[in-house]
Amino acid sequence: MEKKTKVTNEIKKVKKSKENETTEIKVVEEKPKDVKLLIENLTKNFVESNGLAVDNVSFSVFDGEFLSILGPSGCGKTTILRMLIGLIEPTSGKIYKNGKDITSLRISQRGMGIVFQNYALFENMTVLGNVEYALKIKKPKKTEREKTYNPIKLIKFMLEDRKKHNENTREQAMTLLKKMHLEQFADKKPVDLSGGQQQRVAIARTLALHPDIILFDEPMSALDVATRLELCAEIKRVQKEFKTTIIYITHDQEEAFTISDRIMVMSVAKIAQIGTPEEILSHPENDYVKSFVCDNLTNKINTLKNFVEIANGKK
């Protein structure tokens, strides 16, 4: 009897401690997050093609979050991304970053980076050249020096500044390449690299300007399965290491559900549902989400199960 009561007491203790843990976790989750990006009633109407690509879309992205925008081709995912970074002008709506309206701000002043599906690397430059290009092109900082009106001295100072600037940028670019495990390819041209490596160079180039938000436009569409997995892990690592917020566009359900903190499912030009992967899987808000996300995923899982059973000789 004593033994039994001891055991029950221990079980009660464990339960209590577990309850405490869960309550603690809940407290952490319920803490209000900083809104990094706030999108209000964003609309894009392409007059030439006579189509509403994005229709009155509003959502927010939290600081340090990994948000995936998931939807079929032509649903307006890329248009949203291009409006966020400033490559397309919205027909109406506002974009706020850290509470500041950036809708009409220049692209380079938005503090965002973008990685394209087809890498968009500068083919004539080396890997190092690609990464350091944006840094190199900026005006070098003036070092403290004697005041002079002698043009030869001035040119000499300017050249010295440029040299120092170039050395600094090279160093920065090399550090980035090391962080992306690409240092051995520094002198190679993009053509000599594999698809995955090229995409990592594109990420390194984006990181060179220290953006606090990185946008990924279907970065893995052109890659094979093994490379996709590798790159997925790489992007997650980059997010943690550089403490960036990521908005990731994909039409692949598995990809979105494996790496995202939250997913925004899109139907044609509109948001169908936004939530954590668990929420979307367990509580799809409408038939569209159910068929596009849940049914597709369960089908894939069933097919995989069938394969496994066939492989094990059960069927």
Partner: protein, 559 residues
């Protein structure tokens, strides 16, 4: 909150705001400007030409039956020449890309040599070889002058163009279809009928019309070896240059415009020529002795004939009095230089260099706008740009002289440069358009995100990215300006005459030796320039080759 908003608004006013509409319209303004320039120099001269035609010109041209005869001669000689030229070119392209023969590179160079000399010099070469005092005229009387001469000269002048087009198309054909046909036991003739011909159909039509237009609009060969057989371009040349009857010339020009416009329209609607979107496997020719023997015969015979024409120039130019006194002399060179040959050579080189540079810049700027800006104006600009492809040089030259005769430009090198840029604009434009269109579409977007202005993206990434095509465009403008005798023949005066037109002059006075000297000079300049372009394009390969040679020599010495 309101205070916060105000302060953030103040900050925003300091930051530079994006101006979406302006960046877009800036591109459109540039395109409108380019379109207006092209319209001024392509379409307006043509309209001026049309306005020149009057009732009198109809009388002059259509009475006497001269026109009908010339039209008949033109159609007949052009049809026969085109069929032979296209067949020969296909045979040569097949030999180069589908067999295992040796010296392919050498054959490829020799076979395109005729493209480096003016068309009239081909006729002249034939006269030296098969004319009344020709090297191969044993009976004393020559049958060259007339239809045979025109057809032979036209083939010689046009087959390299068709050859290059066929080589390009055969390069992209998929070999797996033929492997499958072999496995199914389908005979080679049936494979040709069922696989090759359907694959090549559209390309074949395009090549046929290109060659047809090239031959029917050329006056160089018929002028040299036509004898009493006159073709439409010769009639136009005689009317406009000989009798200064521009309105009659304009009317004949309209007839020359017809096949060119048909060819242009076919090319426009025939975009997906034979190039398949993906090549699953390239052709690796198997060893086949009979095939290779056939390939050697066709390549050797054609190359020999091409070389023979060039050797004939050398014989004529370097022998004292061909064919009676074959002693070596430089007298004909002296004679040519004495007749302002050097000045005209200088004119030609300067004109070609400027044409090449301006042409390359304008065609790049236009191609960049149409391929990468993609505004509302882009399609219109694209159409205007390729219209010049359909205007024969003779017609363009005639329209320019009507339009600019009384302007300050007439008689200067500027007008020749202008007419050459317009005349040869379309092909380099299309080359550059394709190259720029194939480039990654997001390069400019990346530039914007990285804070790099469009101009820097163009100079740092786009231009180095299409460097080879730019060199090719420069080379195309240069070589064609050196050899052209069509448009410039109307606009050249004593002050601005290019070297190529001296051949006409010498040919008219039966000074074949000096004409041969001019042909050799043009060929030498073009070969030299081609070599320079090749060296620039393959700089890395050459450096690697020289270095590896150096290493080998060092190794040999140490051994």
């Amino acid at each position: 909150m309101e205070k916060n908003n105000e302060s953030s608004n103040e900050k925003l006013s300091v930051e530079r705001k994006i101006r979406f509409p302006k960046t877009k319209t800036r591109g459109i303004y540039f395109e409108i400007f380019l379109g207006a320039v092209l319209l001024t120099f392509v379409v307006i001269p043509l309209i001026t030409l049309l306005c020149k035609i009057d009732g009198e010109s109809f009388k002059t041209v259509f009475t006497g039956g001269m026109f009908a005869k010339a039209l008949g001669n033109s159609v007949l000689t052009t049809l026969i020449s085109t069929i032979i030229s296209v067949t020969l070119a296909y045979g040569l392209a097949w030999a180069i890309s589908r067999t295992n023969i040796k010296f392919k590179a050498l054959f490829s160079i020799l076979l395109v040599l005729p493209m480096l000399i003016p068309s009239i010099s081909h006729g002249m070469g034939l006269i030296i070889l098969f004319g009344n005092n020709g090297l191969f005229t044993f009976t004393g009387t020559s049958h060259l002058y007339g239809y045979i001469g025109i057809i032979l000269g036209s083939i010689l002048y046009s087959f390299p163009v068709a050859f290059l087009m066929f080589v390009d198309i055969l390069k992209y054909e998929d070999s797996t279809t033929y492997d499958a046909a072999d496995v199914l036991g389908i005979s080679k003739p049936r494979q040709f009928m069922c696989i090759t011909l359907p694959y090549m159909r559209k390309a074949l039509i395009s090549i046929f019309f290109t060659v047809f237009t090239l031959i029917i609009t050329d006056y160089g060969v018929p002028l040299a070896v036509g004898g009493k057989v006159k073709t439409l371009p010769v009639l136009l040349y005689e009317n406009a240059v000989g009798q200064l009857d521009y309105s009659a010339g304009a009317l004949i020009g309209i007839f020359l415009l017809v096949p060119a416009v048909v060819a242009f329209l076919i090319d426009l609607f025939n975009k997906d020529r034979a190039k398949s979107t993906f090549t699953t496997r390239e052709f690796k020719p198997k060893k086949n002795k009979s095939k290779e023997a056939g390939a050697y015969i066709i390549c050797l015979l054609t190359s020999a004939f091409v070389l023979l024409v060039i050797i004939s120039f050398c014989l004529q130019a370097f022998s004292t009095s061909y064919p009676t006194n074959m002693a070596f002399t430089l007298e004909h060179f002296k004679n040519t230089f004495h007749k302002n040959g050097l000045t005209y050579l200088y004119n030609s080189v300067i004109m070609s260099l400027f044409t090449a540079f301006i042409g390359m810049v304008v065609s790049f700027a236009t191609a960049y706008c149409t391929a990468r800006l993609k505004t509302k104006m882009s399609k219109i600009l694209h159409i205007i740009s390729i219209i010049s492809l359909s205007i024969p040089g003779l017609v363009l030259g005639l329209s320019y002289i009507i339009m600019f005769k009384s302007s300050a430009l007439y008689g200067t090198l500027v007008i020749l440069i202008l007419v050459n840029v317009v005349h040869f604009f379309a092909s380099p434009y299309q080359m550059l358009y394709n190259a720029l269109f194939k480039m990654n579409e997001n390069l400019e977007s990346v530039g914007k995100v990285l804070g790099v202005c469009r101009f820097r993206v163009i100079t740092d990434c786009i231009i180095p990215g299409c460097k080879d095509t730019l060199i090719e465009a420069f080379s195309y403008f240069f070589v064609n300006s050196m050899i052209t005798i069509s448009a410039v023949s109307f606009l050249a005066t004593r002050n601005n005459k290019p070297l190529s037109l001296m051949i006409n002059q010498f040919e008219a006075f039966n000074m074949l030796e000096c004409a041969a000297v001019v042909a050799i000079l043009i060929l030498a300049v073009n070969i030299l320039m081609k070599f320079i372009f090749y060296s620039i394009r393959n700089k890395d390969k050459i450096i690697y080759f020289v270095k590896s040679r150096g290493k080998k020599n060092v190794n040999k010495k140490t051994v």
